[in-house]
Amino acid sequence: MTKKLVLEESAGFDQKVIEYVHRASATGLYEIRGMGAKRHLPSFDDLVFLAGSASRYPLEGYREKCTTTTVLGTRFAKKPIELAIPITIAGMSFGALSGRVKEALGRAATEMGTSTTTGDGGMTPEERQSSKTLVYQCLPSRYGFNPDDLRKADAIELVIGQGAKPGGGGMLLGQKVTKRVAGMRTLPIGVDQRSACRHPDWTGPDDLAIKVAELREITDWEKPIYIKVGATRTFNDVKLAVHAGADVIVVDGMQGGTAATQTVFIEHIGIPTLAALRQAVDALEDMNMRGKVQLIVSGGIRTGADVAKALAMGADAVAIGQGILLSLGCNSSSYLHEGAHIDATADYNALGTAPGYCHHCQTGKCPVGVTTQDEELELRLEPLTGAKRVKNYLKTLNMELTTVARACGKSNVHHLEREDLVALTLEAAAMARIPLAGTDWIPGVSRF
């Protein structure tokens, strides 16, 4: 008689942890991967809208106007940015993404009247040509950073941190440091590039103010300057960014995606977007800066509902990374070639994964040609097809956003407000400072 197998999994040492210890023991190096946190976190899913009813009336979905125009950079910049929708494309580097993807993003953003953003590695001609509104990042590495591109940009984003890796620097593994990428970054071809986590020419908030002023001087005070922080001590960071003279503050929560970061950062550093957004709004209100300094929030924004909730909580706009990759075909079982779907499952398997589970952007072997520098693989993403898909995705989010806003009786998506929301869980209620549904209880603020 075969012995009965007793398979009681340990909660502490579950399959994931066993796999982790085995991997660490085999390699002696920490794991580096792409995408965002995989663990469960309190999120916008834990909030719902209270739409119009007898006490408030909704707007007619198909007839009544609902404005989505979003203006960023009204504090100091001579030329603020006007976007048609409050949904922007987050900074993703050329190096992480191919030039073809950059072109696709620029085209989609331009057609939708929104902005796209460069990344750690500089500005490519592809993205400048295809993007009507391009935000130029100034990162600690300063790879590819130069005054000519700075002057060509429509806004400047000074990156202090990313939600996926607050306190950590950039990474691009050797497979992706091809001749062109290495040339733009002034690096030897094929190095496992680690970049600095601190800016080279300033430390601390007082210096930051001087740095911001220098960028303004160089660009004659024309361009909006954003300051991007990874969500940690968000209340203080937002205040310091305001003090430093930011026109726009970007807060990136811990769910935020990345092309390559140590897993220990992705899963264990930073606070969820929900908590960070509330702290950021608190900070702006505390300084009487709501509406004067605009707030962009990112990190795990996927749907129109997420956008609507972010706006209701006080964001002026959102930025999206992972959702954009998915819209391009990331984690899809096939890619499109001349109208035909070509199966890519085997390529996922070769990376040790499967469609729906992939986070292997760091390898440069993206099965659908999105996060790659490989000459053959990048052909799997056709810029025009990619642009159409990204445009469709953004359009859908925007339609969802306006339909929710109308249901809440708002003729402008920026009129969505905290009073439109309730929370489904205690955690979300406490973090977002939104009452638990069916009660007027906000943990930490009022008594049950």
Partner: protein, 228 residues
């Protein structure tokens, strides 16, 4: 010679003049800036081949992102002088504070006195010549370009450096991870001679030693026993 007085105009007005009006003016090839009084971002973002004399001390980011201009500071400067310079020359007659020439891509930065921490950090092609000594953590992650140090270097010189090369005449307190001393070749002596000549410093190239990256951190390696 044209004089611009920072007691009479703001830095913003000065820079806008330098960026927008100066390039269209025929004949102005040389100008001086009076009363800089340690103000920040003086002559930042230049994009014209003019000679600028700053008559006094500058604050942070003097000549930041410079292209084409030749800027001389007749005094000391704060952080990030000539940061991310592309071309042209910035000469500091006195001392420079931290992060001098940070991320510079081209041109020449000459500091006649000493400079503080992180000189040449993340440099990407600039030539830096320092008459005196440089502070700790200089040349961190230096990617390309050359730095000549006529005095001493502090702790951690060239930590995690890539392809930049440093020439040091005095003592090196310590080298950073992956930086190593290497023998001087004829090409190195010639390079030092040329750079000293550019700066107007009279030392014998034979007195200099070469520091460059050992390239052991270029790729991940569990056995390298280094912090990544």
């Amino acid at each position: 010679m044209e004089s611009l007085d920072l007691h009479k105009i703001s830095v913003r007005e000065l820079n806008q003049y330098l960026h927008k009006e100066l390039p269209n003016k025929n004949g102005v090839k040389k100008l001086e800036i009076l009363n800089p009084d340690g103000m920040h971002s003086i002559a930042a973002g230049m994009d014209a081949p003019v000679d600028i004399d700053i008559k006094g001390h500058g604050g942070y980011y003097v000549g930041g992102m410079n292209k084409h201009a030749n800027i001389t500071v007749h005094g000391n400067v704060g952080w990030g002088v000539a940061e991310n310079m592309m071309s042209g020359t910035v000469r500091v007659k006195g001392f420079a504070s931290s992060a001098a020439g940070a991320t510079g891509r081209g041109g020449t930065l000459i500091i006649e006195g000493d400079t503080s921490l992180r000189c040449g950090i993340s440099m990407k092609g600039i030539d830096i010549v320092v008459g005196g000594s440089i502070g700790n953590f200089s040349g961190f992650m230096a990617q390309a370009g050359r730095m000549v140090i006529c005095g001493d270097a502090g702790d951690g010189l060239g930590d995690s450096m890539y392809e930049a090369v440093f020439y040091v005449r005095g003592k090196i307190k310590s080298l950073g991870a992956d930086a190593q001393e290497e023998p001087m070749t004829d090409a190195d002596y010639a390079a030092v001679k040329e750079l000293l000549g550019r700066a107007g410093f009279k030392h014998d190239p034979k007195e200099f030693k070469r520091v460059a990256g050992a390239k052991k951190l270029y790729n991940w390696n569990a056995d390298a026993n280094q912090e990544y």
